[in-house]
């Protein structure tokens, strides 16, 4: 099970390059948004009769918000230096809280949703896709394909709202908002864990439903050639039972779908950020909207960075996993 040094080295280099590219994009993008948060705040104060406010207050605000008029490259190096010290800056809209504190509270919820829904989606989708692949070109296959595809193409947020309305509001079976009940005390206790699981059911279910289509189709399309290949035909001739043959084909088909697993993480995160708003789930998706609304650069950057790092690390892990599972990487490395 050892991996070639070559392969790991290449993956690490790739990781670092992508990481730096992401860092740079992260630096540039927020600065594209027009407007200056300090000026906005100052103007509102002034217009609304804040005659007692000294003009130097604007400068004061800028300093406090960490807005710099230094040349971009100086800001960029400052940004990198701060990052290496783990300093993501101070949030503007949640002043004076450090961005790292806010993210420490929000990111775990997002990661929890992403992990749960991706894993459940992957397994359920693969099981359905396997079933569809075995029964290819039958009405079962058609039904599974069409149904999951229809769900995948239904606007995700509308589905979220409809599910919320039916199960939480009308039937009252599930909570409307939050990641845990207000009587639960965060910590490692049974009530809290149950509460968290209970609150995550609707969001996770929605994300799983919308992501199922891709998994099912991918698995089905990998399963069919895998069932048709020579080795399987040969095994069939040797008189292996159907179940065994299916299992062999499944093992061959799941490998390409695993790459999809890594690549789809970015997509999954998008879906989760969206559903967080609908289910009022306190992850980074909620902060993202409010941060953009209030031009909170440090928070926007922090969110961006944390999400990208998470996705990158997940990708890296899946890459390594793939390397272990697929013997061919030992020779080719790709």
């Amino acid at each position: 099970m050892s991996l070639p040094y070559n392969y790991i080295a290449r993956k690490i280099i790739q990781f670092v390059i992508v990481f730096f590219a992401a860092l740079t994009i992260n630096f540039v993008l927020p600065r594209l948004i027009p407007g200056n948060p300090a000026a906005l705040a100052f103007e509102s104060i002034l217009k609304n009769g804040g005659a007692g406010v000294n003009p130097s207050y604007l400068h004061q605000l800028e300093i406090e918000y960490g807005i710099s008029h230094a040349p971009l490259y100086v800001q960029y190096f400052q940004y990198l230096i701060n990052l290496f010290h783990g300093n993501l800056g101070i949030s503007i809209s949640f002043y004076p809280d450090p961005v790292s504190t806010i993210l420490a509270g929000a990111l775990p919820w997002t990661l929890f949703l992403v992990a749960t829904s991706t894993i459940i989606g992957f397994f359920v989708g693969n099981i359905l896709g396997r079933y569809a692949g075995i029964n290819r070109n039958t009405s079962k296959d058609l039904f599974i394909d069409l149904f999951t595809m229809f769900l995948a193409s239904f606007p995700a947020f509308v589905l979220g709202f409809i599910i919320l309305d039916i199960f939480a509001v009308d039937l009252g079976l599930f909570p409307i908002t939050g990641a845990y009940g207000i009587t639960a005390n965060p910590g490692f206790n049974l009530q809290f864990i149950i509460s968290v699981l209970y609150h995550s059911i609707l969001p996770v279910a929605t994300i799983v439903l919308t992501s199922l289509g891709g998994w099912v189709l991918g698995m089905r399309n990998n399963m069919i050639p895998s069932l048709n290949n020579d080795f399987i035909n040969f095994s069939e001739m040797l008189g292996l039972r159907k179940g065994q043959i299916t299992r062999i084909a499944y093992r061959n088909a799941i490998l390409p779908n695993l790459t999809g697993f890594a690549m789809s993480l970015g997509f999954s995160v998008s879906g989760v950020l969206l559903e967080e708003q609908i289910f009022s789930y306190p992850g980074v998706g909620l902060y993202m909207v409010s941060a953009i609304g209030s031009l909170d650069y440090p928070l926007i950057q922090g969110i961006f960075l944390m999400v990208i790092i998470s996705v990158l690390i997940a990708n890296f892990i899946v890459d390594l996993l793939y390397g272990i599972l697929d013997p061919r990487t030992k020779q080719e490395g790709r």
């Binding site: 040094y5 070559n6 080295a9 280099i13």
Partner: protein, 262 residues
């Protein structure tokens, strides 16, 4: 007259391993070959002997690690893209696998027409296409022109490819195992066609193969290659009947006798 020659050509492939390490494979080591006009030269060797590398080097698909390429007495080793393109009109290559060397999305006429267009052929292109197809005994040309590769047999495909290579009237044709993937019955036809083309068009041919039998059929001279080196060369009949190198003898002994077999 010496048309194309190599002087001490070597080719070393380096492959990176990890961040700093690398492995070196010597594919060609100090190879000297030459070909005169209107001559068919054979390159014989087992797979891995470097004969295909040499062929690709001759058409600039690889660059030599050291040594010189001489064409009509000029050193062409340092040619750049424009010169290479011009040179390639003089030296064409036929591939081993006729199933892979034709674009499945284009018909026969396209394959023959394109080299004419890119080389700026001044005459009537369609007439020339017909002419070339006739030349490789694909007649009537009208019948074949609109066929797609998958509608042709292996032998026909190899003829189409020959037509494509010959359309620009090259001086040298490099045939890299042109018949090894064909049925035995078709092999002789293609080889006869190659010999005929030499007579009719007066071009030189480098015939690369691992099959000692076919070499003796068509070539004037032969180079025997082993582990990236030329181990023996001379007139084909001399080499075959009187091999001096141990490796050549092994090669000849290993070759199946077609008459014995069937």
């Amino acid at each position: 007259m010496e048309l194309l020659a190599t002087q001490g050509i070597s080719k070393i492939f380096t492959k990176r391993r990890g961040m700093f390490g690398e492995t070196r494979t010597v594919a060609l080591n100090d190879v000297n070959i030459s070909i005169n006009s209107k001559e068919i030269v054979g390159l014989v060797g087992a797979s891995g002997s470097g004969k295909s590398t040499l062929a690709r080097l001759l058409v600039f698909l690889y660059k030599p690690t050291s040594g010189k390429l001489l064409f009509e007495g000029n050193d062409i080793t340092g040619y750049r893209s424009r010169q290479i393109r011009k040179y390639r009109q003089e030296v064409q290559m036929v591939f081993q696998d006729p199933y892979a060397s034709l674009d499945p999305n284009h018909n026969v006429a396209w394959h023959v027409r394109r080299p004419l267009i890119t080389s700026g052929y001044s005459g009537n292109i369609e007439e020339r296409v017909d002419q070339v197809l006739e030349m490789v005994t694909l007649s009537p040309p009208e019948y074949f022109k609109n066929k797609y590769p998958h509608q042709l047999s292996g032998g026909q495909r190899q003829r189409v490819y020959l037509a494509r290579a010959l359309a620009v009237e090259p001086k040298i044709l490099i045939a890299d195992e042109p018949v090894s993937m064909l049925d035995v019955s078709v092999r002789i036809e293609i080889l006869e066609l190659i010999s005929k083309l030499r007579e009719e068009l007066g071009i030189s041919i480098i015939y690369i193969t691992h099959d000692v039998n076919t070499v003796s059929l068509v070539t004037d001279r032969v180079y025997v290659m082993h582990s990236g080196m030329v181990v023996e060369h001379g007139n084909t009949d001399d080499v075959i009947s009187n091999p001096t190198h141990k490796y050549t003898r092994e090669l000849i002994e290993a070759a199946p006798n077609p008459y014995k077999r069937i």
